[in-house]
Structure formats: C-alpha cells, structure tokens
Amino acid sequence: MRIALIGNPNSGKTTLFNELTGANQHVGNWPGVTVEKKEGTVRPAYGQGEIVDLPGIYSLSPFSMEEVVSRDYLIDETPDVVVNIVDATNLERNLYLTIQLIELNVPLIIALNMMDELEREGYHIDTARLSHDLGVPVVPISAAKKSRLDELVQALPEAREPKRHELPNPHLERLIALVEALLNEHLVREHHLGDLTAQGYPLHWAAIKVLESDELVLGHLTLDEATQRRVDDLKTSFEKEHGLLCTAFADARYRLIHHVVYHGVTIWSTDGTRHKHLRHAHKNFHRGRKHHDRHGRDDRAHTRDRYDARDTHTCDAHTRDRHDSRAHHDCGTCMAQTLYGAHGEGPAGEGFSGGDLPRGRLPHEKLLDDEWHSNDEWHPNDEWHPNDEGPARLDAQLALSDRIDRLVTHRIGAIPVFLVVIFAVFHLTFSESLFGIPGLPSPGVFLQSLVEGGVAAFGNMVSLLFEPGSWAESLVVGGIIGGVGIVLTFLPKILLLFLFLTLLEDCGYMARAAFVMDRLLKKFGLGGKSFLPLLMGFGCTVPAAMACRVLENEQDRKLTLMLVPFMSCGARAPIFLVFAAAFFPQAADIVVFSMYLLGIAVAVLAGIALRKLLFKGELVPFIIELPRYRAPRARSVLLTLWDKLRDYLVRAGTVIFAMCVFVWFLSNFGVSGGGFAYVAMEDSLLVAFGSLIAPLFAPLGFGNWIAVVAVLTGFIAKESVVGTLGVLLNAETGAALGGSGLSAALLATAGFTPVAALSFMVFCLLYIPCVAAFATLKKEFGSWKWAIGQAALSTAVAYGAALVVFQVGSLFA
C-alpha cells in the first residue's frame, strides 16, 4: 500500500512519519526542486506499506513549490491512501486543506492529532460526528505519545474517495456547475475527456481551479478561445455581483468547515461536575430542547440563520430547504450537547455565579445574545472561537502566551531578549571558558576536544598498520583520517548548535524572532526568515546552509544561501587570531571584530546587489504562523539531530572524502627526478600549482607560494590555513614551532607585512567556502551550477576586497 502523509506545518506530521517508519527513511529531493522528499517503509510493528511525507502546506493552491509538489504527487502518483493529519487544537484552519483534498477526490483518511492536548484544555471532539459530516474516516491519535497509531494503520484500508461537499454559497455552486459543463463540452469536443480523467483531474475540481485562475490547471486544459471567453464572462459577472472569486471560495470553504466543526466540537470544563452534566445532557435531550424553546426560537430558523448568514436573502429555495432539513436532523443532539454542557444546567442550575461561568464564551449564549441584543449581521465566527471563548484553563494559557508574545516582540525589549538567547546559544557551543570560568569549556568545546582526541588516537592506531613514511600511511593517516577527521571534529559544535536551535524552534520562539528581525532584513532585500540561517553562519556555514530550508520562497532561499558563507564561521577565527596577534598585538581584538563586521557588510552589499541583478522577484510579504508555545519533545528533537548527523556523515564519507584524497594527492605527488612520484610537499603538484598562481596574489600582497598553498588547503577546512602555514614555514626555517607559534618574524619570511597580513585575513574571510560547506551548498541549491557560482562569487569578492585593502593600505604604510 502506498500512503501519502499530508498536513499543515506544525501539525505533527513529521512526528507521525518518524513514528510509523522508524529508521527506515530515505530523504531526498523532489525532482527539479529543492523541496525535501521523505519516503519510508512502515515498521513491521504497524503493518506494511510505503509512506511519502509530503511537505507541510496550508492549502493546495499553486503558489509555493511545496504546494505544487504535493498536488502533483496526489494527482500523478495516485497513492492508495492519503492520510491528512489534522491538528485538533487548530481544527478550522487545518480542515481548510482537508476540504481541498476532498475537492480533489483522493482516497482520504483523517488522523486527528493532539487530541489529548485538546481534551486537557476542556474540549471534546465528537469524531464520529466529524467523520459523518466530512464523509471521511477520522481516527483520533497522538503522534507524540504514539497512542492509537495502530488504529490509524488498521483504518487505512477504509479510506474512500469522499463525496464532494456542496459549498454553502449557491451562486458559487451554480457557477461551478456552469463551468463544469463548459469544460465537459470543451473536452468532449476536443476528445480530451479521457486524458483529463487519466490525469486524475476530477472535472469538478478542474472547474474550481479554472475559476480560481490556477495557471497550472489552465495550462493542462488548453481551453479554446471561445470557451475561455465564456469562462471569463462568467467570472466577471460573478465578481461584479459577489466580489472576488478567490475570496468567495475561501469564504465558502471556511463556512462549510465552520458548519462541520460546530457540530463536531463540544466544549466543557474538565472539572468533574460539568463533565457529568454533559453526559447527562446526552440522555436528556428534551430538556435541551425545552431550554432552547424558552428563547423562542426553533432549531430550524436558528440553524438556517447560522448557516446561510449573509446569503439568506438570495439563497435559492432548493438549497435552503436542503440545508434546513439536514440541519434540522442534525441539530438536536448537538444543540443539547453544546448548550447543556456549556450552560451547566443541573445541580448548580442556571444560577451560576459569574465566577463559575466560563468567561463570556458560550457559543450559544453568545449567538443568542447576538441575535437578541444586537442588530449586527451575524457571522459564523461568533459562535465558536476557542481562542477567546474557551474554558478557563485555555484562557489562562492564552493570557500567558499573549504576555510572552508581547515580551519577545516588544518594540524595545525584543532585541535584548533575542541577543541574550542567541548569546547563550553561542556561548554554550563555542566558548572556551563557560560563564567566564577559566578552564571550564562549554559543552561544544569539550565534545570537540573529545572527538579530536578520538580522531588522533584512531590515526595513531591506524598508522601502526603501515610502514612509517610510506605513501600509503600518508594517504590513510595524513590525507583521509587527517582531512575527514578535521571535518568530523566540527560535528559536536554543529550538532549542539542545531540542538539549541531546534529547541528554540520547537518551543515556538524562532517564528517570533524571525518576525522581530524582518524589518531590519527587509532593507537588505531579505526577509525575517533569512535571519536565523545568517546568524548560524557565524557558527558554521554547514548548519546555516541547512537551516535555509525554512525559507519557502525559492528566490529568498537561494539568495540567503549565497550570503551565508560571508558570515565569518568559527573555523576562520584562528586565522584572524594568529595574524592579528602577530602583526597588530595592540589592537588584536579590534582587528578580529572588524573582520566579522566586514563579513556582514559584504553580505549586505552582496544581498542588495544580487536582489537587484539576479533575484528580481518582489520580496514575498511577511506572513508567518506563530505556533503555540509548546515544550519541545525529546524524541522529535533527537530525530532531527539524527537526521543532521546522518546527513553530515554521508557527506563526510563521500564528497569530503573524495576531496581530501584529491588534495592529498596534489600535495604529495609531483614530478621529481624526471618521473612522477611520491614526493615531499615542497616538490608536490600543489606547491608547483601554488607557485604557478602565486603571482596572481602579488597585487594582494601575498604572492608567496607558502601563503598561496595555505589558502588552497583552506578549502579542506579553514583551520588548515594556519596548520599549513605552520608546517610549511617550519619546514622552511627548520624551527620547531607549532601552528600557534607563528610569530610576525616567522610569517615575515613568507613575505607578510602588516598590510599584507590584513589583506590575507580579508581574503581568507571571504573566499571560497570550505569543502564541507561547499558540499552542503551544492545539496541545498540542488545544483552544482549554483554552488560553483557561489564559490566563484565569493572568491571574486575576496580578491577584490583584499586588493583594495592592500593597495590602499600600502599608500599609508
């Protein structure tokens, strides 16, 4: 069985996917786009099947890559069952996608997630009723607690193409029917009807999409001119009378949802007494009716008003009658249920004191109040609005999240809060002395030293297997273990950075931070969502590039990926530290700090330029959903980390491995004694190449082969720059100095002057990212072209900037 998972972001889709598949996952990209595609096999414990985790989306409009990918998959691949994950705590919004899935006529089943959370808050969803009203099986689950997942899996074969729902807007329905007929006519005429059904487009759905001006569907249909004109005429005349079509569709869908939700959801407080009343109310349906009648309304009139809202006066009789009878049939229990449960009639009677009564929320009371006490036109949203009309516990929770939101997005307070949070993250990851206590390393530094020790010990052990000084030893120990090992030593810091950021993301803070930073970044042609990746760039380019996935807009993501490497990563710091200490001992901190500032300035300028030249699209207006504050779940955090770890290890084992071998080969083989052989580094191809291109760097002030080779090895890892300089200079001078023992005098033997040192730092700040970053960029861009483009751009910028620094600096030196 082929199963597709679909749902809103933050609906717990990934949690469910992880739980159902366990470790049997395969992460890749959808063809042609850089949207992540996750596939997996259902764990035997749950049964059999192949699952595809479709991207988290809010609707099936063709506006984002994720939406198009999901839609195409559903239409082209026709999965056996589509599992729609619905966040029960955010039912109406989540059902918007559901309604569109029903329109698309796919075999559907709803996994109603986070039911436990909802019930804790004092709501109850009558899933049987919901299922009945939607015409789709509904299985309540809790993905995070793994509860009732087997029920979901067992229910999968029950998924059927649901009966389509009539939208509660007769004008719209009539229009759809007309266009459907037109399309049918057109397709029969063109003998395309077979094609259309073969493509899996239900005609009704195609008609809706034509009305919504869906370019992709219109492209498929290739309507002839006459049909297109007739469709356009219909649209224009509708819009003249009833407003924009797209809005009418959204409105009608939401009203349909509202109708369904209103029936399926009851609210009661979780304290024992009223709980009982509800059950009581089920049994005493008549009393509910009686109560109802006291207000002088009967169910019929009541429901019609509620359902038709603004269209009552124009509603054609047929539709109205149907709605009425249906409503009449449905109304009894639910009315009683909602009314009763909320009113708390019973022992406490109607004499509830103000304190006991849940504050101003009773959907019905509100409704009745509206009807009786105000002349305002009634609107469905007055009835059920849990956010401000929920039980007391929810009110308290909301008041708290209001307060947190106001603090973390405060016009003055937001920035300090943000800085403290980010400083803490960086401090815990990169600091050599935690909380300023000398000798106490941060977890990141501590773990890194462990890995370094491990890699070194492993290298030593392996070297015993080889003849000392042989090229095989050099390849395995120096080239592979040394090269891949350095890259692996970043792993603890990368994982820690991700751990903290995942925690911030999961608890809901990151969306708020993006909002706070949006205004600043807009000036540079970026949006708030780019902020996080750029910030992470100061730690390490690799996780920063991976974090760009949060950007749903292709252009914004590519632009951010282009800029991330300009943020000075942690590995570049040793270069600055060595050179600043050697040449500018009085102002080392200022020099190092200005390097970071220069990186930001270059990113800003490059951002503005690229936005003008390459990414001309309008900046997507900033809309972001702020998820509820939730405690992060250990399991999902760990799985995210495992994902990143695996990702990184795969790259270390493939691209990075190959590059290391390549660089090792270049730096250990050369022409010697008339033949090609294993040689000392000075005679190697790398040095030969370095000497060859060294003159290119003369205008930058470091046209010395040693400096150039150091720069070249920096491609393996930026830390290698300092290491290589140490090795080469020590070899030259015969001094037994370690990498950190590079003094101004020693560096001067490689031709460095203070101005040249500055220029060298600038170059190292900006030039081609290291191999790990490059491989990540390639993966995130989804093409070599873009990754190479980024590398070329940064190298060109580095060259230009270093040139300016050296030439201008020389004037003053």
Binding site: D251, H379, T409, A414, V620, P621, I623
Partner: protein, 70 residues
C-alpha cells in the same frame, strides 16, 4: 481604518483586503476573509501579531496597511 490602527488586545472584523492576489490568497488560506473576526495581540514597528480562527499570525506592517477592518 486599517488593522494597524487597532489597539493591542482589541478585536475587529475584516472588511476587505487590498493586498496583491497572491498575498491575499495566502491570507485567505488562514481564514482572513471579509467578515472574519481578528484580534490584535501585538503591534510594533515590525508589524502585527494577529489571532484569526485558532491561529496566530505575524504580518509585516506594510501588509497590515492592506487589511481594512471595522
């Protein structure tokens, strides 16, 4: 008036949305259709946090200028 004139903590009703079609469509996905009730949770120079249906959205200030409410 537009929604950025609404006080923090106050509710209002959406009258119309003058954003470009794509953006409007995205807002509609979140339930922002004319007649819908919106509560303003926060309003800063950066933009607004609004509550609509059961979800909380952050929108930039220029977008808030497009939302006419009563």
């Amino acid at each position: 008036m537009t929604i950025d004139a609404v006080d923090i903590g106050e509710g209002c009703r959406l009258v119309s949305c003058d954003a470009p079609p794509r953006t409007r469509s995205k807002l509609e996905t979140f339930g922002l259709v004319p007649g819908e009730r919106i509560r303003v949770v926060q309003s800063t120079r950066a933009g607004l946090i609004i509550e609509v249906k059961q979800s909380r959205l952050a929108i930039s200030r220029d977008l808030a200028h497009c939302l006419v409410v009563s």
